[in-house]
């Protein structure tokens, strides 16, 4: 199992290399010149040329990439053009807020989506099912920035019980958590419902019922154990999706997280921060996928057996 884990960890290397090439190319092929932006409209051509020289922007692209990669491997993602602080420090300063938000969003999505899906399946073709499915459809269909604005309007302005921005108390997290998690919640609810309906019809559930054990035990031991496998897959994929959603959520609620950092950096053409931030996001998504794969092994002994065989 440990060897399998390490092997999977190795797979992250080509993924990150690929991401680094793509992000480096996009940032450097994009129009606009960081030196011009930094110095403002009043700068002379000489000043701009000097700064370009200083930043290493005059070297060929592949040399620049080589320098970027070597430094990145040493844990150095360069310095922010805007603040002159190391990019790694900037990321680490902003990351806790983003991670908290992403995890809270996931917890919200699972805590609401899973019971909703189970309830809908147990009450299949009743009004309860219809209501749950409608709720899930709405949750999936409305764009989350709109949800954010509407929640803000409702809970910060009409009934002012929650702060609309900032990052100092737990109250600040409520609305962003809902905004970030609502789509994942809807997807988990729908996935749980369909997975439940499939599992309920399986022979082994009938076998379990034929043993005369309690309905509760049939649900928790025999049905849910099997329902969770596809739900975990979807939740893992959507966790990555949520990290993307963080950009919007953090912007709406003025939360100083990684998403905001990158958005601001793009506006300021602060390319080292953009590169470093995106690379860091890719690393996070890779790690989450790895964790999901390991979670499979916990949930499904057949997969665990494959892992053992694959070492």
């Amino acid at each position: 199992m440990l060897r399998y884990f390490l092997k999977r960890l190795m797979f992250l290397i080509p993924v990150l290399l690929g991401v680094s090439v793509v992000i480096f190319s996009i940032v450097h092929l994009a129009p606009g010149d960081p030196a011009e932006v930094m110095l403002g409209p009043s700068a002379t051509q000489e000043e701009i040329t000097n700064l370009r020289e200083q930043l290493g922007l005059t070297k060929p692209l592949y040399v620049q990439y080589g320098i970027f990669l070597t430094n990145a491997l040493k844990g150095d993602l360069g310095r922010s053009i805007k603040s002159n602080a190391p990019v790694v420090d900037e990321i680490m300063e902003r990351f806790p807020a983003t991670l908290t938000l992403a995890v809270l969003g996931m917890i919200f999505a699972i805590a609401i989506g899973l019971p909703l899906g189970i309830l809908a399946a147990l009450k299949q073709n009743t009004w309860v099912d219809a209501l749950c499915s409608f709720f899930a459809l709405v949750g999936f269909s409305i764009p989350n920035f709109w949800v954010g604005l509407m929640l803000m309007l409702l809970l910060s302005i009409y009934i002012p019980i929650l702060p609309s921005s900032g990052f100092d108390s737990w109250k600040n997290f409520i609305m962003p958590t809902i905004v970030l998690g609502i789509q994942t919640m809807a997807v988990i609810a729908r996935m749980t419902r369909s997975s439940m309906l499939e599992v309920i019809r399986q022979d082994y559930v009938r076998t379990a019922r034929a043993k005369g054990i309690s309905d509760r035990l049939v649900l928790t031991r025999h049905i849910l154990g099997n329902v969770l496998i596809p739900v975990v897959t979807i939740a893992g994929i959507y966790f990555g999706h949520q990290l993307g959603g963080v950009v919007i959520t953090e912007t709406i609620f003025s939360i100083p997280g990684l998403g905001r950092l990158i958005v601001d950096a793009i506006r300021a053409q602060d390319y080292p921060v953009v590169q470093g931030g995106v690379l860091f996001f890719a690393l996070c998504v890779g790690i989450v996928n790895l964790l999901v794969d390991l979670l499979y092994a916990v949930l499904d002994p057949r997969i665990k057996a494959q892992y053992r065989a694959a070492k």
Binding site: V205, T207, R209, A210, K211, G212, L217, H222, N226, L299
Partner: protein, 326 residues
């Protein structure tokens, strides 16, 4: 014990589907003494499994509805029991072995837990005691007890079916319903599993309903036989009565379908036609469209049952006491 262990009378089950109402079981009647084995024989769709599920109280509802009848087990009408009371019977006094061992075990639960959970539910055993008993049950079906913690995918098909048998026998039930327990297995494994079932049945003196479409299996393990066609029992009797003196044209047809190694294969005569559409059963005797001895009467009137010393036949050929051989 006085009277039969199980007595099913006038059982009627329908399934309400979008296409219409399926009459799955129509007035089924049979009884079974403690410790005996009844073979329930018929083609796919004859209503064998629905009959079994009705006894277990597990007819899927919706769409299934038991419209009338009674299932008396050890003096209680199971159809009038609440779900809670039924749970105490299921797995404890009556248990069921399902057809496909590949799908009837939960892939993510160890076989040990799947055996012991019935013991915990019914016999007030602690987890540890149940585990010990479950290991004993595994040994009984010739699987080493230390494989308790393994998952179904680590067992072969025949072994899985033995696990299912251990599960069914765990609480030492009075009745086991085995729904085609060997159909999904290889022929060599079939024989082993049948032999195992027979010896355990003796050891635990359990009554059994063996659902099968294989008359060979019936001949090996059953004391009584009931032949089902289109939701009805068309002929029933002791093994000797049915195998020695089958009367219903359908039963005779089934016997003619068995290949004989001493005769040429061209002599197998399958029954012409197909099972009737259960949405639209024929009038009169349900077998009449396929019956080689069909008479005018058969097309309009449902035959009554002629009882000849426990050998019961539902056919107009014998309806007026005449014993014409088919």
């Amino acid at each position: 014990m006085n009277g039969p262990l199980l007595e099913v009378a006038d059982l009627n089950v329908i399934y309400k589907t979008y296409e219409g109402t399926v009459a799955a079981v129509n007035g089924v009647e049979f009884s079974l003494e403690a410790g005996r084995t009844l073979g329930l024989v018929g083609e796919s769709g004859a209503g064998k499994t629905t009959t079994a599920l009705s006894i277990m109280g597990l007819v899927p509802s919706p769409p299934g509805i038991i419209t009338s009848g009674s299932v008396n087990f050890a003096g209680k009408n199971l159809l009038s029991l609440s779900e809670k009371e039924m749970k105490k019977i299921r797995g404890n006094h009556i248990s069921m072995i399902f057809q496909d061992p590949m799908t009837s075990l939960n892939p993510v639960v160890t076989v040990g837990v799947q055996i012991s959970e019935a013991l915990v539910a019914h016999q007030n055993l602690s987890e540890a005691e149940a585990e010990k008993k479950a290991m004993e049950m595994l040994e009984k079906v010739q699987i080493p007890g230390q494989r308790y913690r393994e998952y179904p995918h680590e067992f072969s098909g025949g072994m899985r079916q033995r696990v299912v048998i251990a599960m069914a026998l765990a609480c030492n039930p009075g009745l086991i319903i085995a729904d085609e327990p060997t159909t999904a297995l290889d022929v060599t494994i079939q024989a082993q599993v049948l032999e195992l079932m027979r010896s355990l049945k003796e050891e635990f003196s359990t009554a059994m309903i063996m659902i099968t479409h294989d008359l060979g299996v019936v001949g090996e393990v059953c004391d009584h036989v009931a032949v089902m066609y289109a939701g009805r029992i068309v002929e029933t009797g002791s093994l000797e009565q049915i195998f020695g003196n089958a009367r219903h044209p359908y039963t005779l047809g089934l016997f003619r379908c068995i290949p004989d190694i001493e005769e040429e294969t061209s002599k197998i005569r399958p029954i012409e036609g197909l099972m009737p559409d259960p949405l639209d059963l024929p009038s009169g005797c349900p077998f009449h469209p396929r019956c080689p001895q069909c008479m005018d009467l058969c097309r309009t009137v449902v035959p009554g049952v002629l009882d000849d010393g426990g050998h019961r036949v539902m056919c107009h050929l014998y309806g007026k006491g005449g014993a014409v051989h088919g």
